[in-house]
């Protein structure tokens, strides 16, 4: 029984540790392999009211680098969206980016084919990742092969790079050469810039110089006063070294994840080791007689320690083997959850860490009980007297206390996260997402030229009730929108600007609160109309009394507010709803919305797909999405955390229960004589149980008491990340209390019950 419990606990701890170690080492590896990770800096612009963007005007960097010797080299890139890439047989998708020719001197990814110095020098060239190369060309060398990018331009493959073994925050699969950035506007923050700066340069000072340069040169070029220019572009600039980009400059808070997971896995490993020691010591008192007899027969202390260490080593090795197999079993799920790439073989890259862990475990978990055991005084043990140390007892209680505090924190956290997730799933987002099919537009030219054709088709199908063409879809990653200053009299705001058509509000069931919807003929039109619709937040922030008919300034032009819509949660619940201006355009639509009715969606989608691929976007793969599913993806990150915390709480509870079993057995066995005395005096079973369980109940109550503020603090911090969140619920605290108390009582009761049937006479005779 003991070795089995020991094995389970140790295996759980090791598996946790191994998986987290793999994950963390992969996360830390990001860009760390880059030889210039300290000297290459990313350019970041902080907006006053918003988050940080890694964006700048291309012209600023070009101009600045000419005058500033500290900038050794710079590299620019521009996001190129989700691209389609095709040869005569296959078509695949990948994230594409336009890069300057020196990309590989900044990010020296290993090249499978091609020369990194010449692969990006001509705009007809194209560099693809091994993933794209494999799906397009199989095992062939694709250099010199022609491909079509997004149904528009022909490119010649000039290189294949492998980004999977060199993890980086650069997650693009298609590199499109950009010899000269086209945009020379000092006010367009459209490029991402990396600066290779001289070692002795202070990046803070350099960023300040950049800011100054932007204002002084930019204002002159754009013929504005410096004050006006500075007001228009009131961003502050920052340069961050490459080695920090992935972990610290990322919206997903990668460093927090790495930190939390590392700490938790180390705690769990420690706890399984402590439990191992406890169980071994508890077991040791069972074996005290064996040791005592060995000693009286002349076994040396060393021989006993060696024997014990050998036993522990065997258990550790078996646990490691099982943990490795478990890791291989669990890893695919973990990889899927975190969308990362890990293989169990990478453990061998981390052999020193694994070996250190094993040796430490052996030393601590093997030596301590071995010494405890070998120190038994044979005569006392043979007479039936165990070593009873008050301090050891206290340590054990402290350990149990710690474990149940943690378990309770985990349970509460998992439940609070679940509650917030449920809140987000069920809360009215302010718009209807049901049966809203989205067709992302890939080939804009074809789509716009065949507008009448598909409009006609949609009209004929009675299961399509409404359609809308828009540049941006709420709650999804589709399309694009912008953020701009909006003026109302003297007041100024940063507002979200979305281009939509007149069908947008009806198809999403968003009512017009005041005023009216856009009124337009259903033809193709561009943003030439001065009518805008705004949301309630904008009205509130500008403190407008009677918004309909008022004018606001946007991009230097005057717009008339024709309608006001209520606020809706277009980006989920993490960010506050921003003041928003809806301007009108159905040109350059990124997404076509189709509202479907009735059942049998699969067949309807099939019909639409057939039509779309044969008549509209010919030769383009069709990948439709549903808004409800896309919106749910906003919560993926939180679902992930929930799954992790839930998994850890289960492991934690199992571990603490194992620890409790060990300690319950040990402490209750130590009280056998006391139980015998109490029984002799006439204690009933109930009274004995009360005596035995009292201390366990007290420990779990203290654990719960300690866990509440910790859990409250953690959960408040986490909930604080949401602009819209639930009030701290009390039920999780109640559930955690009931769970911990009932589990502790059950385990202790199970062990105490055995104590009720001891042979009184035997234990009364102890001296």
């Amino acid at each position: 029984m003991y070795p089995l419990i020991n094995l389970i606990g140790l295996t759980a701890g090791m598996t946790c540790f191994l998986i987290t170690m793999l994950f963390v080492s992969r996360e830390i590896k990001h860009d760390n392999w880059n030889p210039n990770k300290k000297d290459i800096h990313i350019f970041l612009a902080h907006m006053e009211s918003r988050t940080t963007y890694p964006a700048c005007p291309a012209i600023l960097i070009k101009h600045f680098a000419k005058y500033e010797n500290a900038v050794l080299d710079y590299m620019l890139m521009r996001h190129h969206g989700f691209n389609l890439i095709a040869n005569d047989k296959e078509t695949v998708y990948g994230h594409g980016v336009k890069v300057t020719p020196n990309f590989f001197s900044f990010f020296p990814f290993p090249m499978k084919y091609g020369d990194p110095t010449t692969a990006l020098t001509d705009t007809t060239q194209l560099v693809i990742s091994t993933m794209i190369a494999d799906s397009l060309f199989g095992q062939q060398n694709p250099i010199g092969k022609k491909v079509i990018l997004s149904n528009q331009k022909e490119h010649v493959i000039s290189g294949v790079f492998n980004r999977h073994d060199s993890p980086s925050h650069i997650k693009y699969d298609i590199l499109i050469p950009m010899v000269e950035p086209a945009d020379t506007n000092w006010g367009n923050f459209n490029y991402r810039a990396y600066l290779h700066i001289a070692k002795e340069t202070d990046p803070v000072q350099l960023a300040a110089c950049l800011k100054q340069h932007h204002v002084s040169v930019g204002s002159a070029v754009m013929e504005k006063t410096m004050e006006r220019f500075a007001e228009l572009f009131s961003f502050s600039f920052e340069l961050r070294p490459l080695e920090e980009v992935y972990l610290y400059c990322n919206e997903n808070r990668n460093f927090n994840v790495v930190l939390i997971l590392s700490i938790l896995s180390i705690i769990i490993l420690c706890i399984s080791a402590i439990n191992f020691i406890n169980l071994s010591i508890a077991n040791a008192s069972l074996r005290a007689k064996e040791v005592a007899v060995r000693k009286t027969l002349g076994g040396s202390k060393r021989a006993i320690i060696v024997q014990f260490l050998l036993e522990v080593s065997i258990i550790c090795l078996i646990a490691l083997c099982i943990a490795l197999s478990l890791t291989e079993l669990i890893l695919p799920h973990f990889v899927k959850l975190w969308e990362t790439r890990l293989s169990v073989w990478e453990i061998f890259e981390q052999l020193p860490i694994v070996m250190t862990m094993l040796i430490l475990l052996l030393l601590v978990a093997g030596f301590l009980p071995a010494i405890y055991l070998s120190n038994f005084k044979p005569m006392e043990v043979l007479k039936g007297k165990f070593v009873r140390s008050k301090r050891g007892h206290l340590l054990q209680k402290g350990n149990i206390l710690f474990q149940f505090t943690l378990s309770s924190v985990f349970i509460i956290s998992a439940l609070v996260i679940r509650a917030q997730l449920n809140y987000m799933y069920t809360k009215d987002t302010g718009f209807t997402k049901d049966q809203l099919m989205m067709i992302p537009v890939t080939d804009l030219e074809q789509v716009e030229s065949k507008r009448n054709k598909y409009k006609q088709f949609f009209k004929e199908k009675d299961y399509i009730t409404e359609t809308s063409s828009i540049r941006w879809a709420p709650g999804t990653g589709l399309g694009h929108s912008s953020i701009s200053h909006t003026h109302y009299g003297e007041k100024k705001l940063d507002s979200d600007i979305h281009f939509v058509d007149q069908h947008f509000f009806p198809i999403l069931d968003i009512p017009i609160k005041y005023g009216r919807n856009f009124v337009l003929a259903d033809t193709l039109y561009d943003e030439c109309y001065s009518d805008v619709i705004v949301n309630q937040t904008l009205v509130d922030k500008f403190d407008m009394k009677d918004p309909v008919g008022q004018t606001i300034e946007l991009w230097g032009g005057t717009r008339i507010i024709v309608g006001v819509v209520p606020d809706f949660y277009k980006h989920g619940f993490e960010h506050k709803i921003q003041p928003t201006v809806f301007a009108i355009s159905n040109k350059e639509a990124a997404v076509i919305f189709l509202k479907l009715t009735g059942g049998d969606i699969a067949n309807k989608v099939k019909e639409i797909k057939a039509f779309w691929t044969q008549e509209i976007e010919i030769g383009v793969p069709f990948y439709h999405r549903f808004m409800e599913e896309d919106y749910a993806k906003l919560f993926e990150r939180h679902e992930r955390l929930h799954i992790m915390i839930l998994a850890l709480s289960i492991i934690m509870i199992v571990l603490s229960l194992l620890g409790l079993v060990a300690i319950a057995i040990h402490t209750i066995r130590q009280r056998y004589q006391e139980i015998a005395i109490r029984k002799a005096i006439g204690a009933s079973d109930y009274e004995l149980l009360h005596t035995l369980l009292k201390e366990f109940v007290i420990i779990s109550l203290i654990a719960l008491f300690l866990s509440f503020p910790i859990a409250y603090y953690f959960c408040s911090w986490w909930l604080g990340g949401f602009a819209y969140h639930i009030q701290m619920p009390l039920v999780p605290y109640l559930i955690a209390s009931i769970t911990v108390l009932s589990l502790v009582l059950f385990i202790a009761w199970f062990q105490a019950r055995k104590a009720l049937h001891i042979d009184i006479v035997r234990f009364l005779k102890f001296e």
Partner: protein, 233 residues
């Protein structure tokens, strides 16, 4: 009060049978002070444990206050123990984690005596046995003699009909041992029924009747001659 007829107790361990008590017959009347003597392993402790309902037996009959004790369940045995029997052990068997006061109080708690009555009873006993100044101490802080006096107090606190003492002076020096024996003699004079297992002839001298047990049977039984006590002194 106690009537034991043809009682047998056999210990079995893998293949070997040890007969602890063999067709044992034994009676005790109310108010008697009986000493049981005999060599080690003669069955005298087993007899005491069976009388005290701490152990079971294989054959024969045992009547306690004319009530048959064969095949009682553990709960009933516990009730009889706590209401009618007080134990005194050679190794005192006090609970280390409880104070002197709490140790003595314990049987009263198990007998569901009210708090007020418990305190006054325990305090009275502490005074009677001259250990009042020690009531907040833990057993480990006391001398052997004091510990045994606490144990005696614990045995007396419920005013049991029967007191069972298993070598009560075995772990004590002669001075302390004598004091404990005087205590038992006083109790006997006040009317308590006492059965005591002992190795010591001197201790046995305090009893009114002495039986000698060997190989699970009574070898001899005699009325005590009080003179022994005087000669030994």
């Amino acid at each position: 009060m106690i009537d034991i007829q043809n009682l047998s107790k056999i210990y079995r361990s893998t293949g070997i049978e040890t007969i602890a008590l063999n067709q044992f017959n034994f009676q005790v009347r109310v108010g008697e002070f009986v000493a049981i003597m005999g060599p080690s392993g003669c069955g005298k402790s087993t007899l005491l444990h069976i009388i005290g309902l701490l152990d079971t037996f294989d054959k024969g009959d045992y009547y306690f206050n004319e009530q048959q004790m064969n095949d009682l369940d553990e709960k009933t045995r516990g009730t009889i123990r706590k209401k009618q029997i007080g134990f005194i052990f050679q190794n005192f068997n006090l609970i280390d984690e409880l104070t002197v006061f709490e140790n003595i109080e314990l049987p009263l708690i198990y007998n569901k005596v009210g708090k007020k009555k418990r305190v006054s009873k325990v305090n009275q006993l502490l005074k009677d046995l001259d250990i009042e100044h020690r009531k907040k101490h833990f057993p480990q802080q006391l001398s052997g003699g004091q510990q045994q006096r606490v144990a005696v107090a614990r045995a007396l606190v419920t005013e049991p009909q029967l007191i069972l003492a298993d070598e009560p002076t075995g772990n004590l020096d002669s001075k302390n041992g004598n004091e404990v024996m005087e205590l038992l003699a006083d109790l006997h004079r006040q009317g308590s029924t006492i059965i005591m297992v002992t190795h010591s002839n001197y201790d046995a001298g305090f009893a009114t009747r002495i039986i000698e047990v060997k190989d699970g049977q009574i070898m001899a039984e005699r009325k005590n001659k009080r003179e022994i006590r005087i000669i030994d002194k």
